[in-house]
């Protein structure tokens, strides 16, 4: 009976997140992107297109703003009137930030996007009705909508190209929302292997497509619950603690540069992606 279930597990159902008293149990997937290492080469974006069967919409639709790049390289130019603005170019790889308190999740009328047990923001294509409220409420605008039925559009995957489609990833039909999944198909495969062998996933066992393709190793990905993982170490040592007035981490013995931050932390979304960059006046 639903009401019995409701009353019996009342305190569990009234529990908010993220709070300290109930952290993630086995996995909490997270990412760190070193912007000082990023050269803006777009390899991550290309790898993402290949891995996740993202439709290539063509020039015309791109001009209409209907591109589907889950992973995008944003370019920012300085506006200080310098002669060659490109010299001050800064790059920012941007994908779904997998927020712990994601604004997209609460507003979906069909419940098609949820927070999973291992700390990822999931998207259920089958359940999506296409109200696009999630995208409207996403501060980063990293959700992409299938404006057309891409699998049946001619120039998206020309004949031979269909051969390279990833069989582990479903192809989305028109009218559904999609976004970066942290390569959930790879995580699931690794978790299955680990479960069969009676252990947890080891650090480095899962790589996201973008991480794998990055020539400068700017992206690291892993399990934040495991204190020995590279990501967990980066988060522990390099993240600026916004709740503290004076930052003490980097002054400690063996401390590194304190250059980790998450985008728009003032909105209290608790993203799972940390960017590493020295805070500075200008890029040069």
């Amino acid at each position: 009976m639903s009401v019995t279930n409701l009353l019996e597990n009342w305190s569990q159902f009234r529990h908010g997140h993220p709070v300290d008293d109930k952290p993630h149990e086995e996995y909490k997937w997270a990412m760190a992107i070193d912007l000082d290492a990023c050269t803006g080469c777009n390899a991550c974006s290309v790898a993402c297109y290949a891995e996740n069967n993202i439709p290539v919409v063509g020039k015309e639709k791109f001009n209409a703003g209907q591109q589907m790049h889950w992973m995008r390289i944003e370019r920012y130019w300085p506006e200080d009137g310098r002669e060659f603005a490109d010299q001050g170019a800064q790059f920012l790889p941007m994908m779904c930030q997998q927020c712990e308190a994601a604004p997209c999740e609460t507003v979906c009328p069909a419940g098609a996007t949820n927070h999973t047990a291992d700390g990822v923001n999931s998207q259920i294509y089958n359940r999506c009705v296409g109200s696009r409220y999630c995208s409207a409420n996403c501060p980063f605008k990293v959700r992409y909508f299938n404006w057309y039925d891409y699998p049946s559009t001619d120039n998206v995957w020309p004949a031979e190209m269909t051969q390279q489609l990833n069989p582990d990833v479903s192809v989305r039909s028109k009218g559904v929302m999609e976004k970066c999944t942290f390569c959930v198909q790879r995580m699931t495969a690794a978790k299955n292997t680990a479960r069969n062998e009676g252990r947890l996933v080891r650090d480095g066992e899962v790589q996201t497509a973008c991480q794998q393709a990055c020539p400068t190793n700017a992206i690291s990905f892993g399990n934040l619950v495991d204190p020995e993982s590279k990501v967990a170490k980066q988060w522990a040592h390099q993240q600026v603690e916004l709740s503290k007035e004076v930052q003490a981490k980097d002054a400690q013995e063996g401390g590194t540069d304190l250059r980790g931050y998450r985008i728009m932390e003032e909105l209290r979304l608790y993203p799972s992606v940390m960017y590493l960059e020295r805070v500075r006046e200008s890029a040069i």
Binding site: S2, N5, L6, H17, E105, Y270
Partner: protein
């Protein structure tokens, strides 16, 4: 004795009021005052004192419906949230109060309105077949008084009607 219907039509409310007043005072044998029905093109609530206490109970339906709607709303929604994949959304609790309050409020009103209307149909006895004597004039501008009484009382009732300038009197054929 067999019961018969009689309908009188009046040109204005004053005449009909006077006729009802006299009928109440007259104490005619074989005629119960509660069997008198006033038919009018508009509502006359002046008549309530005259007809005595004939209650309207719709408000109890309303109360019941609204409470039921609200309770059903809250438990249906919270129960559904608890039984659905108990997955977090936006860091909010699985059973969050503010949204559930909004929905409970809407269900409260929905229940109130629906059951009130049900109450109206029950209390007003609708839908119904029309009573044996009916004149379309009532929906235009005349006031009708319909009485069910023993055949023996008919003559006296009829006299009261004619005394008060009834325009037309219809009688049911005797059985």
């Amino acid at each position: 004795m067999s019961q018969q219907h009689i309908l009188a039509l009046f040109n204005n409310f004053e005449n009909a009021e006077a006729a009802i007043y006299e009928l109440r005072a007259a104490d005619i044998k074989g005629f119960n005052f509660d069997d008198l029905t006033l038919k009018s093109p508009i509502e006359h609530h002046e008549v309530e004192d005259l007809l005595g206490k004939r209650s309207a109970n719709v408000q109890w339906f309303t109360l019941g419906g609204a409470l039921l709607g609200g309770l059903l709303g809250f438990f249906l929604i919270s129960g559904a949230q608890a039984n659905f994949f108990a997955q977090m959304k936006g860091g909010k609790p699985i059973v969050p109060f503010p949204p559930n309050f909004v929905l409970t409020y809407e269900m409260f009103i929905l229940g109130g309105v629906f059951i009130s209307v049900l109450g109206f149909l029950v209390c007003a006895g609708l839908p119904a077949k029309r009573s044996p004597l009916y004149s379309a004039k009532v929906s235009e501008d005349q006031i009708g008084i319909l009485i069910k009484a023993d055949a023996s009382a008919m003559a006296k009732i009829k006299k009261v009607f004619t005394d008060h300038e009834a325009l037309e009197i219809q009688e049911e054929a005797g059985k």
